[in-house]
């Protein structure tokens, strides 16, 4: 297996060092080829001039960013004022993704806890059950959800026949429908990391807390949650980030009023109406914001830990 390691290292440690370098090469190539290079391409494209039928002209231009942030009137000859359209779309996207993340956390944490506290033999089955719906294509799942939520759909019919409501609730084309769609699309990404963390949790710590007069609620808050925090953070990131860029759920369940970043970007690369540099610029802005949030979060985390020590 370690054929990549050239012989002739003077010591064993040296040989291992070399082998490690070679064996790590594939992952470096994947990281470089599949994330760094595309990001660089996007960065470059965002500074090019748009070609009207899609594609780009290789000429430097700030037009894409200008269009994102400034309004220069219909013919581009008025003095610039701030363009609110896209900022609003961004803001709404963050709001929707954030709500969907909290919803996933609220449902995902108890689910993960439940699975992790089953007897060891049956946990795999529960995890398997959680993932079953995700074997169906996302598009089909989202369309089905729209069907369920329709005014004449099964959900409204059940609620009406139970006498809980008199007239159908309008759920399609609302913020709620989008949040529900996003929540449903990404729930396993919340459950699985939290499950992994709770499974590794040493439950004798909970016993110790109870032994030291802590109620169940206090034990949860002061002992269990701090111990599984890395899993919760991972789950939140894994749900929040793709929700932010998602376009299926907002398109199908939200309608025009609930347009999100994903749809905005997607349109720029679709058909003749597109504007590649603008799509690339919007992606870059999104990427930058997400990175800044994650960095701020990480910094606050380490500062908090340093303060503890």
């Amino acid at each position: 297996m370690a054929a990549g390691a050239p012989g002739g290292g003077s010591t064993v440690a040296n040989t291992y060092e070399k082998a490690r370098t070679w064996l790590l090469l594939p992952s470096w190539l994947v990281l470089l080829g599949l994330s760094l290079i595309p990001v660089i391409m996007m960065l470059v494209y965002s500074f090019l001039t748009k070609e009207f039928r899609g594609g780009v002209i290789w000429e430097f231009s700030l037009a894409a960013y200008d269009q994102f942030f400034f309004d220069r009137g219909l013919f581009g000859d008025e003095p610039p004022s701030i363009e609110w359209t896209y900022i609003t779309i961004f803001w709404r996207s963050f709001w929707q993704a954030g709500t969907a993340t909290l919803l996933s956390l609220a449902i995902g944490f108890p689910t993960a806890y439940f699975i992790a506290t089953r007897p060891a033999g049956s946990r795999a089955i529960w995890v398997f059950l959680i993932t079953i719906p995700y074997w169906v294509n996302l598009l089909i799942r989202t369309v089905s959800m729209k069907f369920l939520l329709r005014d004449q759909g099964p959900l409204n019919q059940v609620l009406m026949s139970l006498g809980l409501i008199d007239s159908p609730l309008h759920m399609v084309n609302t913020n709620f429908a989008v949040q529900l769609g996003l929540f449903y699309s990404y729930l396993p990404f919340m459950v699985l990391p939290i499950y992994a963390a709770v499974e590794r949790y040493d439950f004798s710590l909970s016993e110790a807390a109870a032994d030291l007069y802590a109620s169940r609620w206090v034990t949860l808050r002061r002992v269990l949650l701090p111990a599984v925090k890395p899993g919760i953070i991972a789950g939140c990131i894994l749900v929040f980030v793709p929700s932010l860029g998602s376009f299926l759920a907002p398109d199908l369940l939200g309608g025009a009023k609930n347009y999100m970043i994903g749809s905005l970007i997607e349109e720029q690369f679709k058909g003749n109406a597109g504007n590649w540099p603008f799509g690339a610029a919007a992606s870059m802005i999104l990427l930058t914001i997400v990175l800044i949030i994650l960095l701020l979060f990480a910094r606050q985390q380490t500062r908090h830990e340093r303060k503890e020590a």
Binding site: D202, S204, L205, E207, A208, A209, A210, D211, L212, Y213, A214, S215, V218, V223, P226, A227, E308, A309
Partner: protein
């Protein structure tokens, strides 16, 4: 009613896991301010009993009283009992000080009160300099002391300790045994200590409950248990002994005359329930036997030395009785001058103090 001066009264406690019975009708009383030990081999139910007292396992049948109050239906966080866990179970995200302060704060003290109490406790276990460290930055012995301080800080009525010393090396373990004993004296808290190490139990305890297979075998002071084991299990489990199969020949004036294989005869005290003709076990501690080159009295047993084993403070001599069982004799090193050492192959006589041999019920 429960007697008020007992710290814990366990009455007919039964614990079942499905069809398996881990504890079979155990009854015992633990006195106030006592260093009490649960001793027994692995799997005998010590931890189960301790966890029932702490409230982590429910009682299938029977009752548990704490200073007269029935507690078996109280959740763990309402029992004035604290535990030192075998794995310590220190909170990894809290530093040493906050670990120790945790229980005090949960009992209603303010954070600053709890911390000052925690500082006192850390001083008591000599860890004041480590209060800002995380548990992962401590050695096993230090973690153990933190666990002890954490459990003592809220001033429980009873402290439960589940094999707290088993992870430590021999030297540290001996030191901690003394420290624990002192702590118990100083704090006046009732300690219930679990161990499977009989030597540890004998050194530390006021009283010992010997358990086996979910049953209480004997309860008594270390001396009672060592010198007057009630049955074969206790005699065999506690200390070293010569366990011999004998037939009771005759009972006269409270004396039972027993016959060993090879026709040797031994005298011991009569025991209720063992009659003439029964084949029973007899225990004879190696240090209560001595050897000589001439018979001391008519009761001396004749044999041949097969081996001498040097074990530090003592010398163990193995003697094969003529046509009979093997005997282990222990001579203290300081006595070797007066009692003499016999080379392997020497013909010797085995003698014993009166009352040294004990008949056992099975």
């Amino acid at each position: 009613m429960a007697r008020q001066d007992n710290a814990i009264d366990v009455r007919n406690a039964v614990k079942r896991y499905g069809s398996f019975t881990a504890l079979k009708e155990v009854s015992l009383s633990i006195k106030d301010n006592e260093f009490f030990t649960l001793l027994g081999p692995s799997g005998c139910g010590k931890t189960t009993l301790l966890r029932m007292i702490a409230g982590f396992e429910d009682v299938s049948h029977g009752s548990i009283h704490l200073y007269g109050q029935e507690i078996e239906n109280l959740p763990p966080n309402q029992r004035p009992v604290n535990t030192v866990f075998q794995s310590y179970a220190l909170f990894p995200h809290l530093n040493v000080l906050d670990n120790v302060a945790f229980g005090v704060e949960m009992k209603g003290a303010s954070q600053s009160e709890a911390r000052s109490k925690a500082r006192q406790m850390l001083e008591l276990v000599q860890l004041s300099d480590f209060s800002a460290r995380k548990p992962s930055q401590l050695s096993g012995g230090q973690q153990q002391r933190v666990a002890l301080a954490r459990a003592l800080a809220p001033q429980p009525k009873v402290l439960l300790l589940d094999e707290p010393l088993s992870a430590l090396d021999l030297k540290l373990r001996k030191a901690m045994q003394l420290e624990l004993k002192h702590l118990q004296r100083e704090t006046g808290i009732t300690f219930i200590f679990v161990t499977h190490d009989q030597e540890e139990a004998l050194t530390m305890s006021d009283r010992i409950a010997v358990m086996s297979a979910g049953e209480l075998q004997q309860l008594g002071t270390p001396r009672e248990i060592y010198e007057s084991p009630r049955n074969v299990f206790v005699a065999d489990f506690i200390g070293e002994t010569n366990l011999l199969t004998v037939v009771v020949k005759e009972i006269r004036d409270g004396n039972a005359i027993c016959q060993l294989d090879g026709g040797h005869e031994l005298h011991c005290n009569e025991v209720a329930g063992i009659g003439v003709g029964s084949s029973v076990h007899l225990s004879l501690r190696p240090e209560r036997v001595f050897i000589s080159d001439k018979p001391r009295e008519s009761k001396s047993l004749q044999g041949k030395v097969s081996e001498n084993i040097f074990i530090g403070t003592d010398i163990t001599t193995i003697v094969n009785l003529t046509d009979g069982p093997t005997f282990t004799v222990r001579t203290s090193n300081s006595d070797r001058g007066s009692k003499g050492i016999f080379e392997p192959g020497s013909d010797v006589y085995v003698n014993m103090e009166p009352g040294a041999a004990r008949l056992l019920i099975d």
